[in-house]
């Protein structure tokens, strides 16, 4: 596998860390500096502060050059400071803007910008020389400034969102400079990248790509697109974790800055800023596991984790890159904020809290709740003066979405739905009056819910019921609303069958299904996953729901599904997956690790009703205990006999065809 190759893995962490600003550029440097043992990075750890971004990192530039930067070197703690408190970054930025050296160095910014623009063609040497140039043009002697910048870069990489908000504030205060500044910023990091090239070729390649991306994004700034919120990417990889962190910190800032200050330019800029990282995130999500191969990396990860104050200490090795479950601390916090929600529409807020508390479960339910909340928000929306509806509303939706992500990582289906909404907004003609635009959006949302979910379910049921014969024993796992509807419908149609409901801790939502089916008079057997191999002997069909189907035919579904499918396959029982086509995604995933969602670890350590089984009660104190509560798993297509969608019954190999042929249609209905 490509992503397991050593060099890439080395470069990966940095990419991930870059998070927001200029993906790829800053983090590598950080990474290098942070791993002192790394043979390549023989430079003193202190180098990190001076940071490549600013150009001169001792690490990357030949000996003569960095001597000036050496004095700047600040030990790790300092760096962490910068990272941890973005406010610091923010302040420094303002100072930066205000300080004479910065306002004047137009030459520097220009240089950086130009470099930025032609970076794709840039060769390592080139990059270095340029970096040198920049460095020289740059008043290297002003150590203070360097430090400040390092702080900014660090902040950008670690808690990107917040740093960017601050940047936008800065932009607001100095609109004329902001753009340049940004360019310079990017450029600086770019320099760093160039310099780092000397060390690792792979790294540089990745960076170059990232840079290219960033560049493209800036160019396409004006263009609207759903890329801003690639929710699908949200659950994937460490980046989301970062984002999450950033966002957690962010809301107050955003509340302050975004709505009140916001003029269009700011919001659009923000979007621009948002975009490259998303893209980058999507493409370069690094293999999380690699870092744990080597102790230093783990060390580093731990150091990094300091930033995330509320994260569980005992994270499970392979899953550190995922957003950790932090709802417990968040819920009361959010609840208290309920009445001071300036920017958040109440309905969105409500849905968010419901996600958080687990009151809304299931892909369709979550998606519908979100869409209805958006619909209400759109209904109550009015374009602020001097703003374009298309842009402002998109930004607004994005902020809602990021709020929802805070509450719970998005599901893939929700990602698709959001993409749909954004597309619809983007396609609104400029001339359309606001009221009309709003009503058209609302009807679009209604249509999406109706066509893609409600009717699709009906079609799926019609298809699926043809596969139920009299005398069948159907097995299902957990609670899937489509499967439930199917079983009820089949019963109504008069098919004679029996249902085996397999369930598992901690959710035990199979009991809900059991309750409903028994109430309908359907013959049911209820068992837990542990008994699957025993019960499978008598089963003739397995019907399962799915959170998503990926384009290699992989079924992404509630944890335990893969087990059921595998056992069924071993027993030669056909496995039928019922999944609406709007949940299909073009991503490919090979394991359950790189993208998943972590649930509350406490839930699995506590056994309700068993007072004597409390051995794990004080688990937080046990250092060598890690609890893993995964939400999803991945079922390889080999175990799936058929996928039943609103487009008919398909083999798993046809999912990409549906994705390819109907993506457009899904987006534009």
């Amino acid at each position: 596998m490509d992503n397991r190759r050593q060099p890439r893995t080395v470069s990966d962490p940095k990419v991930r860390q870059v998070g927001f600003v200029t993906p790829g550029a800053a983090p590598p440097a950080r990474y290098l500096s942070e791993a002192p043992t790394d043979p390549a990075a023989t430079s003193p750890p202190s180098g990190e502060t001076a940071l490549p971004a600013i150009s001169i990192s001792p690490v990357m530039i030949p000996p003569p050059r960095h001597s000036p930067s050496a004095p700047l070197a600040v030990p790790n703690p300092a760096r962490r400071d910068g990272l941890q408190n973005q406010v610091g970054g923010y302040n420094t930025l303002e100072v930066l803007l205000g300080s004479p050296p910065l306002t004047s160095p137009s030459s520097r910014t220009d240089d950086a910008v130009s470099q930025f623009s032609d970076d794709p063609s840039m060769s390592p040497c080139d990059g270095r020389s340029r970096a040198a140039k920049v460095a020289s043009s740059f008043p290297g002697s002003s150590g203070e400034m360097m430090v400040m910048k390092a702080g900014i870069v660090g902040g950008g990489s670690n808690t990107p969102k917040s740093s960017w908000t601050t940047a936008s504030v800065a932009a607001k205060t100095r609109p004329d400079i902001s753009e340049k500044e940004r360019g310079a910023f990017v450029g600086m990091q770019n320099d760093g990248a160039g310099a780092s090239k000397t060390f690792k070729e792979k790294t540089t390649k990745a960076e170059r790509r990232a840079l290219q991306e960033a560049q493209r994004a800036t160019k396409a700034a004006a263009k609207e697109s759903g890329a801003g919120v690639k929710l699908s990417a949200a659950p994937g990889g460490a980046v989301p974790a970062n984002t999450k962190q950033g966002k957690v910190v962010k809301p107050p800032a955003q509340k302050k800055d975004g709505p009140q200050v916001a003029n269009t330019s700011v919001s659009s800029e923000k979007k621009v800023v948002d975009r490259p990282p998303e893209k980058d995130r999507k493409k370069d999500v690094p293999p999380p596991r690699m870092q744990f191969d080597d102790i230093h990396r783990v060390e580093k990860a731990k150091r990094r984790a300091v930033v995330y104050q509320f994260e569980a200490k005992n994270r499970v090795e392979l899953f550190r890159h995922l957003p950790q479950y932090i709802h417990g601390t968040q819920l009361p916090d959010l609840e208290t904020k309920f009445f001071q929600l300036d920017p958040m529409h109440p309905s969105v807020y409500k849905v968010g809290l419901q996600y958080l508390s687990g009151n809304i479960l299931g892909g369709n339910a979550r998606c519908i709740a979100m869409l209805l909340a958006f619909r209400e928000a759109i209904r109550d929306y009015s374009t602020p003066p001097e703003k374009a509806l298309v842009r402002d509303l998109t930004a607004k939706i994005s902020s809602y979405v990021s709020f929802l992500i805070e509450c719970r990582p998005l599901s893939i289906s929700m990602g698709n739905a959001i993409r749909f909404i954004k597309n619809r907004i983007a396609k609104l003609p400029d001339t359309m009056p606001e009221s009309e635009a709003k009503s058209s959006l609302q009807s679009d949302i209604d249509r999406f819910i109706n066509e893609k979910i409600v009717i699709a379910d009906k079609v799926i049921i019609r298809h699926a019921v043809t596969k139920i014969r009299d005398g069948d024993v159907l097995l299902t796992y957990g609670l899937s609303c489509v499967v439930e509807m199917l079983l009820v419908y089949a019963h109504e149609v008069g098919k004679q069958f029996r249902v085996v409901i397999v369930d598992s801790r901690p959710n035990l939502d199979g009991q809900v299904l059991l309750h409903r089916l028994v109430a309908k008079g359907i013959n049911c057997t209820y068992t837990h996953l542990n008994a699957i191999s025993y019960i499978m002997l008598e089963v003739t069909r397995v019907f399962l729901g799915a959170a998503s189907v990926l384009s290699n035919g992989t079924v992404y579904s509630r944890v335990g599904t893969a087990c059921v499918a595998m056992v069924a396959n071993a027993f030669r029982v056909p496995v039928l997956i019922c999944c609406e086509a709007y949940k299909f995604h073009e991503r490919v995933q090979l394991d359950s690790i790189c993208s998943n969602e972590l649930g509350d670890p406490d839930v699995i350590s506590k056994v309700p009703g068993q007072k004597d089984l409390n051995h794990l009660d004080n688990r937080a104190n046990i250092e060598n205990l890690q609890l893993l509560n995964l939400t999803y798993d991945v079922t390889p297509s080999d175990f799936v006999s058929m996928i039943i969608t609103d487009y008919g019954m398909l083999p798993p190999s046809s999912v990409p065809v549906i994705v390819r042929e109907y993506r457009r249609e899904n987006l534009w209905i």
């Binding site: 596969k467 014969r469 056909p574 019954m649 398909l650 083999p651 190999s653 065809v657 549906i658 042929e661």
Partner: protein, 359 residues
């Protein structure tokens, strides 16, 4: 003769037709049919016009028309249905497009219900409907122009279907190399065509024919092949595993190709494919694209059974059941490639093609 033969209860009409065809099939006859196909206009006007004439006197019956075409041994049932449907359009006295479409739909339903066990028949009817009605012709102002366009399209479809075998033979013969041994199960006209073309291209190969109980399809095929000078060996059906060591590839036809990419074919195909798979021999399927059906059987019993009488030659003790099913389903997992007139496909492409045709 019964002008409108309903399939006898318990015996698949599809297999009855095939049996009739096999009884009279001969190399000469195939050669003639070949010539007719090559000549370009296989859609001999006489029957159609005759029907058109007779339509004035008596109501047009799609089944009659179908039976007329069906009697030609070289015509697959599906192609006969297509021909009949084209004739149906031609002789229709509908005056609006909608009316015509409804009429066509009725005709195709009638054909499908004539023999519900034939996969290729219903698949071809469906495909024809898609192919013919999915055209801009429906927006023509002038009904007659539109109707002509439909007929044209229908005829084109029929022609494509007729030429399909030829195309498949061209594609398939590339896979036959000198000195190879091919195991063939069942009598498939497409397979015969492939072997024939290969042999006329001076490829040297030998063929193992399974006996093909109960209707002895292997005997018919071996006769044909022997006439072409191809070395043939007959095996009893249970000797497949025994002979598989020597075999380089398995080549079978198909009654229908289903959405999963698997095939429905004469009883015994599944076991042959299983054995071949377990011995790492490629299994090729030669079949026309009009056999692509929107079916998705999950297992053997998930099909409408096509029944066929089985003769054991000795009296069967009372109380003993006989498995009369005439075909089985081979999952895509055991197939290597499909030779179709759309090209040489992997099994998973079938679903893609079907999605593009039907959705």
């Amino acid at each position: 003769m019964d002008p409108n033969p309903k399939p006898n209860h318990g015996i698949s009409a599809y297999y009855k037709t095939r049996a009739e065809h096999h009884a009279i099939i001969s190399g000469d006859w195939l050669a003639q049919a070949q010539a007719a196909t090559a000549a370009g206009h296989p859609l001999e006007v006489p029957p159609a016009s005759a029907t058109a004439l007779s339509a004035a006197s008596k109501p047009f019956s799609i089944i009659d028309e179908f039976n007329h075409w069906r009697r030609k041994p070289d015509l697959a049932e599906a192609v006969a249905a297509i021909m009949a449907l084209v004739a149906g359009i031609r002789s229709s006295d509908a005056t609006t497009m909608m009316e015509l479409e409804i009429e066509l739909k009725k005709a195709s339903d009638a054909l499908k219900s004539w023999d519900t066990t034939s996969i290729s028949l219903s698949a071809a009817c469906d495909l024809f409907m898609r192919y013919v009605t999915r055209t801009s012709a429906l927006e023509y102002e002038d009904f007659h122009a539109a109707k002509l366009r439909l007929i044209e399209r229908g005829e084109k479809f029929g022609e494509i279907s007729l030429k399909a075998r030829r195309t498949i033979a061209m594609l398939g013969q590339d896979f036959i190399f000198d000195g190879c041994t091919i195991l063939v199960h069942g009598f498939s006209r497409v397979v015969l065509e492939v072997l024939k073309l290969a042999s006329s291209n001076r490829k040297l190969f030998r063929v193992f024919c399974t006996e093909g109980r109960p209707d002895k399809t292997g005997l018919g095929l071996s006769k044909e092949l022997a006439a072409l000078g191809i070395p043939v060996k007959l095996l009893i059906d249970s000797a497949v595993a025994y002979a598989m060591d020597e075999v380089d590839m398995v080549l079978v036809g198909a009654d229908g190709i289903v959405e999963s990419g698997g095939i429905i074919n004469m009883m015994g195909t599944y076991q042959t494919a299983l054995i071949a798979h377990s011995m790492n021999k490629p299994v090729y399927v030669a079949a026309e694209s009009y056999k692509f059906a929107r079916l998705y059987p999950l297992d053997q019993k998930d099909l409408e059974p096509a029944l066929r009488p089985v003769e054991f030659g000795v009296p069967i003790p009372s109380g003993v059941e006989i498995e009369k099913s005439a075909r089985d389903y081979t999952p895509p997992h055991y197939l290597t490639l499909l030779f179709t007139d759309l090209g040489v496909l992997t099994p998973s492409v079938v679903s893609d093609e079907l999605i593009q045709l039907y959705l």
